[in-house]
Symmetry: C2
Subunit: 269 residues, 2 copies
């Protein structure tokens, strides 16, 4: 495997671009192959079997593009599929949950951590497990927020309806006196301001993207795969549904030059 | 083909059950094979190519169950795929758009008809085309309502947030003095009361399910396929994602006895 090979990053849709953005920022020499499963989005309320099946197909697709490592930039897929898939492939693969859990542990002062995420992520209890391994004394309170992804996908980022739903979802977490709230879905950083308004400035919001990028750097270093020299970036974006929406979103999130997205028949992988 | 064979009915998820319910009510002798594409729901904001591909797979699956006719109980799939698929198979297939258009034409008094539906259904202009064929003088105004399906799937049927979104979506249609509003998505009848509150009692709400059931009866009669005698019904329900949510919804919509749902790997068809 060459250090010049790209890093594969995938998500159910556009949310993972918030992670891709952070990776591009921290290690600008690296090329990214991004896949968004826009034909089958959202993943959040689908079963474990379905998510594992979809993740396997996407990993096969990314490996057909000779990626040197994979980042699962989706909390639901990280929660359900990471532990299984990492035993099936021979290149490094990381998710966003462990990095998010690490930051939550180092951030909380009173030991009460809230997690918001999709139904799948919350039901899996994956954040509790990872946080528990790092510090068994920390109490973790989860709340599924199934409508936040559709609201964000409709671009209602700063809207009374999104604020009302964020308020309903977080109010029961605030009862537990949380001082730290993990944005346990890669879409949520896009409404960080709205969430901050409803939970109050004294609650620290954790976006796992920054720590995920740091983790992939460490993993690449350990495997001698960090790309030290790359004058011209060649990021590539693939989707399973060829609608224009992905491009519009990608431009606003990445704020980089216009790029092409290619449509892939992911079911064939 | 035997008249004792079942009728295939499918939707992206649970919405088509509102159509299945009406068919069961109007022709109780018939058996239904229902398929809900719960692994890939929603269809509403995906591209035409994706929807045609998914519809082909589902039609192949239903035909493997020896159905005598197929009802596409999904407006988006009816809009994008019906005209193509009906040339590819040799059993009768109908959608929900033509029946809905027929009722709208016979209902409107002032010739101003509103359509609410998914982004795909509205962008396809399919209701305008069908209504225009029946009465070219009728003016048709469409509005995509992308958040209504997620809100309904979250069971927020009678909720201030759903009411607010319904108000935003319909207010621009009311400017055109519509007297008839087609519920152009099989989920929407579940929030008929909320929609009625925001558009006012003087606007007639059209649910295409009733007319769709009438249409399939006519089609079966024409093809000598109506099942006259069936003492014990044997409806069967299949989904592409085996989560419990479908069952819960199905029970509340169909209000019939508890039934089993089988999970199908639809990508294999």
């Amino acid at each position: 495997m060459s250090s010049k090979a790209p890093i594969g990053v995938f998500d159910s849709g556009v949310g993972g671009l918030t992670v891709a953005k952070e990776i591009i920022k921290q290690i600008p020499n690296e090329d990214i192959i991004y896949f968004g499963d826009t034909a089958r989005v959202p993943y959040g309320n689908k079963s474990k079997d379905t998510i594992i099946n979809y993740t396997r197909q996407i990993v096969r697709f990314l490996m057909s593009k000779d990626v040197k490592a994979i980042v699962i930039a989706c909390n639901t897929a990280s929660a359900f599929a990471l532990d299984i898939i990492k035993n099936e492939i021979d290149i490094p693969i990381i998710g966003v949950v462990n990095p998010g859990a690490k930051v939550a542990v180092s951030t909380t002062r009173n030991g009460n951590v809230g997690i918001i995420g999709t139904q799948g992520t919350i039901d899996s209890n994956v954040y509790s497990k990872y946080i528990g391994k790092l510090d068994a004394k920390i109490k973790v309170y989860g709340r599924a927020c199934p409508l936040l992804v559709p609201l964000i996908e409709e671009n209602l980022l700063d809207d009374p309806v999104t604020k009302e739903m964020a308020r309903r979802y977080t109010e029961e977490l605030l009862v537990y006196n949380i001082d730290t709230l993990v944005l346990g879905c890669t879409h949520y950083p896009l409404i960080k301001d709205t969430i901050s308004q409803v939970v109050g400035g004294e609650v620290s919001l954790i976006n796992p993207a920054y720590e995920t990028a740091k983790t992939i750097i460490e993993v690449l270093k350990e495997n001698d795969l960090l790309n030290e020299f790359n004058k011209y970036n060649n990021h590539k974006f693939y989707v399973s549904d060829g609608s224009e929406k992905f491009k519009t979103f990608a431009k606003s999130i990445l704020s980089c030059e216009v790029f092409e997205t290619k449509t892939v028949d992911i079911e064939k992988y």
